[in-house]
Symmetry: C2
Subunit: 318 residues, 2 copies
């Protein structure tokens, strides 16, 4: 990793990734269980619902050895772990098409892997799904990834600080929990609710149709979820992703992230777990590109008001 002194961010280099598997033919899908022992895939045959393995082309590795000095660069070994989570043995299903029990199992897998990585000393654990070729996805078998970072990314440290400031100045109330409560009572940006969680377009959505799923009870990470909370999150995830696909009757490309507090042995009472879904389409025939203002200034310009997006998503017939 090298340090970007203006942005105060680490940049990770993994030159070996340049040759990684790129859009293989369906006949050589490496995420299918092995059918022919002569041509093994990444996964054995067997009776399982969800599989996890280390990414063959990881950006971050556990045993990288000391970093090679580079003149002019402030460097550090890129300690961490990159895993692939295969959502299903069926290569044709999308995440939301799995049963709610199956999705709840995936939530449990994310929690289990977070526990293991945290015990291995990893500081920040980000489960995510890149969905669609428009997001750069090179394998269409339903799967996500988990990035475990040996450091707390600067963006995450800033969101910790923002939530702590709120927590300290609002006598122990959580910023994101309070936001979710407001959205539940206002209703105008609400998409769906369950007993233990709700889904809404945040009032400050950066992406058109951006949707958050937030448990009603504060909790810093996936390990704090009870089984009923896992089920409600899974059920909302299925509903929201289905609504996004049905919005224009085409698979919506998106980035889905599970946003946990860092596993850095600090107290994170300020943090509320949240799922963020960032669709990258702004209309049926137009993608949302990140360009000058979004990338150059971190100022997102959106064509769709959050209230309008929520109304459209609510009106989708399931």
């Amino acid at each position: 990793m090298r340090w970007h002194p203006l942005r105060k961010e680490w940049v990770v280099y993994a030159a070996h990734r340049q040759e990684r598997t790129f859009m293989p033919a369906a006949s050589s899908n490496p995420l299918l269980p092995t059918a022919d022992p002569e041509r093994p895939t990444e996964l054995p045959a067997g009776d399982y619902d969800v599989a996890v393995f280390e990414n063959r082309f990881p950006s971050l590795v556990e045993h990288s050895g000391p970093a090679t000095p580079v003149s002019g660069a402030h460097i550090q070994a890129a300690y961490g772990r990159c895993e692939v989570v295969v959502f299903s043995q069926d290569p044709k299903l999308s995440l939301w098409q799995l049963s709610v029990e199956h999705i709840a199992l995936i939530v449990q897998v994310w929690a289990d892997r977070s526990r293991d990585m945290a015990q291995a000393g990893i500081s920040y654990i980000l489960p995510f799904e890149n969905r669609g070729a428009e997001m750069g996805v090179t394998l269409h078998h339903p799967h996500g990834q988990i990035y475990g970072y040996g450091f707390v990314p600067s963006l995450v440290a800033r969101t910790v600080a923002a939530q702590r400031d709120y927590y300290n100045s609002h006598t122990g109330h959580n910023l994101v929990t309070k936001l979710a409560e407001e959205e539940r009572s206002l209703g105008v940006r609400l998409i769906a609710t369950r007993q233990h969680a709700l889904a809404f377009v945040p009032p400050f959505a950066r992406y058109p149709y951006e949707t958050w799923i937030v448990p009603t009870r504060p909790g810093a990470d996936l390990l704090t979820l009870s089984p009923p909370e896992q089920m409600d999150l899974a059920s909302l995830l299925a509903e929201v992703l289905q609504r996004l696909d049905r919005l224009w009757d085409m698979p919506m490309p998106y980035l889905l992230t599970l946003n946990q507090a860092p596993f850095d042995n600090e107290n994170h009472s300020e943090w509320t777990l949240r799922i963020e879904i960032w669709p990258v389409r702004r209309s049926r025939d137009k993608l949302k590109f990140l360009a000058g203002t979004e990338l150059g200034a971190d100022v997102f310009a959106s064509d769709v008001l959050p209230e309008a997006a929520a109304a459209q998503l609510r009106s989708v017939q399931l």
Copy 2:
């Protein structure tokens, strides 16, 4: 604009932009000078090299009136200005194919527009070029844009702080000037030099083939450039962009930004003007997508080491 309380960033909404001009046929290019008075374009006919006008679909406007309150959102009027800079009357040329004098004129135009916007009370002025359909460009006539923000974006405030910290702890030396001096003496990431400026791949490049152009003399903004400095910047810009297009003999899609200090009436001795060029292709046949780690954690993972990228760009035959 609405405030994102976790990221501490403004998000701009411009619902009228949804219907903006999208990939018009060559026969209805709105950036061509008007040929038929019955079918006027955005520009009059006439003898000129570069044209600037206000974006017909602006994200930020000077006279927006008070913002309409939205329950649950912290809002503010999106004061600012969005302009289009047409680089040439010829719809087929790329920026680097213009004469160095013509590119220097564009640099002067960026400076003039920055002066005018700053005098109108705009706090941060970002000239940029989105190049290529892969960057979401909807009009292929050679042009860039200028976004003038009525506030200092959080990202920019952080880079001010980073440069000030360096300036204060290094007895008046500028972080970016010092970086450029080091790159000149090390040479391993250098691409090209002129008397008053140099081009290099930064040691912490986030994009494969990311290239910076930095004047040798510190200066907070485009207004500080002397005519010889403008010429050297223009000459390096032409060379670097040509090298990027020749690297794989195909037009390189990129985001080009001119990074000036805020125009906020503070002293910005810490700042050095820099041009950043972010190509979004990582190999001849593969785009660099921003996905889970880049967007979800602001941690860029790159497949190409800066030293290797610089060597490739240097070896391109012009």
